[in-house]
């Protein structure tokens, strides 16, 4: 007979204290490049055009950064920051959900062509290390119970209709969060015969989470921003 209780209790509390306290454990995020001093050649090294040359150096469009790390190593390199509060609000994004939602939002996740990266990270917001329930986030199986639609992937041709139907089935008020660079603009898959090039091509998007993939804390940050419990960040940074 396995003594799960003893083995589990003996390990103590494994859950992060973020957002009450900062989370600085190594490896909770892939980090991201920050705008800074650099040449046009450094900007040109970026294969996804996330870096752009600027009068004062190199700027970063986080909506395109896929953490390929090509600007991180080598002769000239940008400084990378190990943060994860990346969620940003597009211009047409609706305001935060009313205060009565702030301790309990129900989320329906939709895989609209996500690779294993986003799939892996979304599964982990429920893991002991992050435990979404402690901040009032719940996953629901049906869009009819959902306040928030969290969508990963570039939106493939065959997922356009299921995505639209799921959105239409949600009760008002509702919000949509596009998770990962693919869901923002198609990412490495771009816009093509098979990919819509992001969630906004099909349904309105209220918040976007940059990252490839965004780590669990970045997802939780976004879901807190949906109810106004955290502030969204800027998507583009000039040096």
């Amino acid at each position: 007979m396995a003594n799960w209780v003893f083995h589990s209790l003996s390990r103590g509390i494994r859950t992060t204290r973020w957002p009450t306290d900062p989370e600085t454990a190594a490896g909770v995020t892939p980090g991201r490049p920050r705008a800074g001093v650099g040449s046009a050649e450094l900007a040109a090294r970026c294969p996804t055009e996330a870096l752009f040359p600027h009068d004062n150096g190199v700027g970063v469009d986080f909506g395109h950064c896929v953490h390929c790390q090509r600007c991180r190593h080598g002769d000239e390199a940008l400084a990378w920051e190990q943060d994860f509060t990346w969620t940003s609000k597009p211009e047409q994004g609706r305001e935060a959900l009313p205060a009565r939602f702030s301790r309990s939002i129900h989320v329906r996740y939709i895989d609209a062509g996500a690779c294993g990266g986003c799939m892996g990270e979304i599964r982990l917001i429920d893991a002991p290390a992050y435990n979404m329930h402690r901040v009032g986030i719940f996953i629901t199986a049906t869009p009819r119970d959902a306040d928030v639609l969290l969508v990963g992937g570039p939106v493939t041709e065959a997922m356009r209709e299921p995505l639209r139907k799921a959105y239409e089935a949600m009760p008002e008020p509702k919000r949509v969060v596009a998770m990962g660079v693919c869901a923002i603009n198609g990412g490495v898959f771009g816009t093509s015969f098979a990919s819509a090039g992001g969630v906004a091509a099909e349904i309105p998007v209220d918040l976007v989470i940059p990252g490839c993939p965004p780590p669990p804390l970045a997802i939780i940050h976004a879901l807190l921003a949906v109810t106004g419990r955290t502030e969204p960040a800027e998507l583009v940074e000039n040096p």
Binding site: M1, A2, N3, W4, V5, H7, S8, A26, G27, V28, T29, P30, G31, P47, V66, C68, Q69, R70, R72, H73, R108, Y109, D111, G113, A114, C115, G116, G117, C118, M119, G120, I122, L124, A127, P128, A129, I139, A141, G153, P154, T156, E157, A158, M159, R160, E161, P162, A166, G187, V188, F189, G190, T191, S192, F193, A194, S195, C212, P213, P215
Partner: protein, 532 residues
């Protein structure tokens, strides 16, 4: 038997049997030029008489051709391998967009032929099931062949499809039986796909798998990209085994360039690839525990998975190992101090996994749900050409690290996991056993890591080559053609999940509804990897 003597022996045997075909011994592989008439006999001889496995089918449209119906001509490359380390390539030309189906005898090729039919509009004579596969009839019009040269991959084709409602396939006619759809949006965080269960209400009598909801056209959109750009796709079409696919892709490029990867880089590549396998299996185990409702087991599994992801982020700068692999070696390498942390962290995680295995195998309520459940017979495992842990749990010990070694695996001792029952419990034991083997490989290499550069200078050379890797889910083959400008002209990815999903419908004997997610979790397959 060495690879060289294996190739010449097989060449001799085939020349005796098939005097009228041209057989070249190319050193690294046996190249057979055959007419389409001879293709079927040769393929059957390779698999039935010479113990070869079907690896991949790569189609290429001739460069000068437009997308004209029926007149388009193609080159088809059928890859096989024997566990003596011999790779065989049959090249045949089709001038009328027709090829003979080999899948009636070599069932492993079935989905490969259906893919070629959908993507290139090639008719496979003798194939019984064509139609709705990658390009769903509800979404795509008839006669779209996206991989043909004249097809513009930037243009959206249509949003109406055939304009008809798609009807789920039904095989069983029985009073009270109905088709229960699961998907494409289902469960909490499940990947999109559709499974149609024929059921009288509780027991599953027949299952149908309909995938490719996540088809992103990776092989098409890569055409015309630089090799550095397409590497981003190689890593990101299946992020849970990013390093394995990136490695197979880079090995094809290195073969073209004749690039020698330095010893230290080779060792580091094995360390990272085996690390990825451990993390992939840890995730599968956590999901398996969760699927049975054993929440505490899932939590422990996820805790280990998260520990490994953080270790990966700390040592390799990315939780899913993106941006590490590069042609010629690695893009960059962690220093010795970071590698020492990897060693330390991995040992701790390996101990945790040992403990988790002891706890799981002592939980009878858990074992009741996976024992004799989702059983894949050895016969089906062979017939469908299943790969990876799924095959190795069903008495089919196939592992490219041993049967077709790449990198430095021929100098390493890889113990291939082996179970015989083919059920969920056997698969779980294979996952744990492979974790142990991988951890031992990493520890061994870290203890004797050679000094030297982490990459060799690399330059893109045009041509076509095949790279392969034993990815966490099984064998993967990447066939690449690079044109004179150094851009990708054609890229064919054979993914292990593609092969294993094909067999998935065979495993519901005696299963009821509540077993469905458990069986699926015990397979540890990726839809993203299959759909590409």
């Amino acid at each position: 038997m060495s690879t060289a003597s294996g190739i010449s022996n097989l060449a001799q045997a085939l020349r005796d049997q098939h005097a009228d075909t041209t057989i070249h011994d190319r050193g690294d592989r046996l190249l057979i030029e055959a007419s389409t008439d001879r293709l079927y006999d040769l393929a059957v001889a390779l698999t039935s008489d010479h113990g070869c496995e079907f690896a991949d089918l790569a189609i290429e449209q001739h460069a000068e051709q437009d997308a004209e119906e029926d007149t388009a001509s193609f080159t088809a490359r059928y890859f096989f391998y024997a566990d003596t380390g011999v790779l065989v390539e049959i090249v045949t030309a089709s001038t009328n967009a027709e090829l003979p189906a080999i899948s009636d005898r070599i069932h492993a090729a079935d989905w490969h032929e259906r893919e070629a039919e959908d993507m290139f509009g090639i008719h496979f004579t003798g194939h019984p099931f064509m139609g709705d596969f990658i390009l769903h009839d509800t979404v795509w019009p008839e006669n779209v062949a996206p991989m043909r040269r004249g097809f513009d991959h930037g243009e959206r084709v249509s949003e109406k499809g055939l304009g008809e409602d798609w009807q789920p396939p039904r095989l069983i006619d029985e009073p009270g039986l109905f088709a229960f759809p699961v998907g494409p949006i289902w469960s909490d965080y499940a990947e999109s796909g559709l499974w149609i269960l024929e059921t009288p209400g509780e027991h599953i009598h027949q299952a149908h798998t309909r995938l490719f909801y996540k088809f992103r056209g990776v092989q098409k959109i890569a055409e015309g990209q630089s090799t550095g750009q397409a590497l981003l796709l190689a890593e990101r079409f299946s992020g849970s085994s990013a390093f394995a696919h990136g490695l197979a892709y880079c090995q094809a490029l290195e073969k073209l360039a004749g690039c020698e990867v330095p010893a230290r880089a080779q060792m580091l590549r094995v360390i990272v690839a085996e690390f990825e396998r451990i993390r992939y299996h840890a995730m599968t185990i956590a999901e398996l525990a969760g699927s049975t409702g054993l929440a505490v087991g899932k939590a422990r599994g996820q805790d280990i998975e998260e520990t490994l992801l953080r270790l990966s982020g700390e040592v390799f700068s990315h939780r899913y190992l993106f941006g590490l692999i590069a042609p010629g070696g690695l893009a960059w390498a962690p220093d010795d101090e970071a590698l020492a942390r990897l060693d330390h962290g991995l040992q701790a995680a390996a101990e945790e996994l040992e403990q988790l295995e002891r706890l799981l195998t002592a939980s009878s309520s858990f074992l009741d749900r996976i024992e004799e459940m989702g059983g894949l017979s050895t016969e089906d495992a062979v017939r469908y050409g299943t790969l990876g842990p799924v095959a190795r749990a069903a008495d089919r010990t196939l592992d490219l690290r041993v049967s077709l070694p790449y990198g430095i695996y021929d100098r390493l001792k890889v113990t291939v996991a082996h179970e015989t029952e083919g059920d969920g419990y056997a698969r779980m034991r294979v996952f744990f056993s492979e974790i142990r083997v991988s951890a031992a490989l990493i520890r061994d290499l870290l203890s004797r890591l050679e000094d030297g550069p982490f990459a060799a200078p690399f330059e893109v050379v045009p041509g076509a080559a095949l790279g392969w890797v034993e990815a966490p889910a099984g064998a993967t083959f990447h066939w690449l053609r690079v044109d004179e400008a150094g851009l990708i002209a054609r890229w064919q990815v054979a993914a292990p999940s593609f092969r294993n999903w094909h067999a998935f419908q065979q495993v519901f004997d005696g299963a009821a509804f509540q077993d469905f997610p458990i069986i699926m979790a015990s397979y540890g397959l990726s839809v993203a990897e299959n759909d590409r």
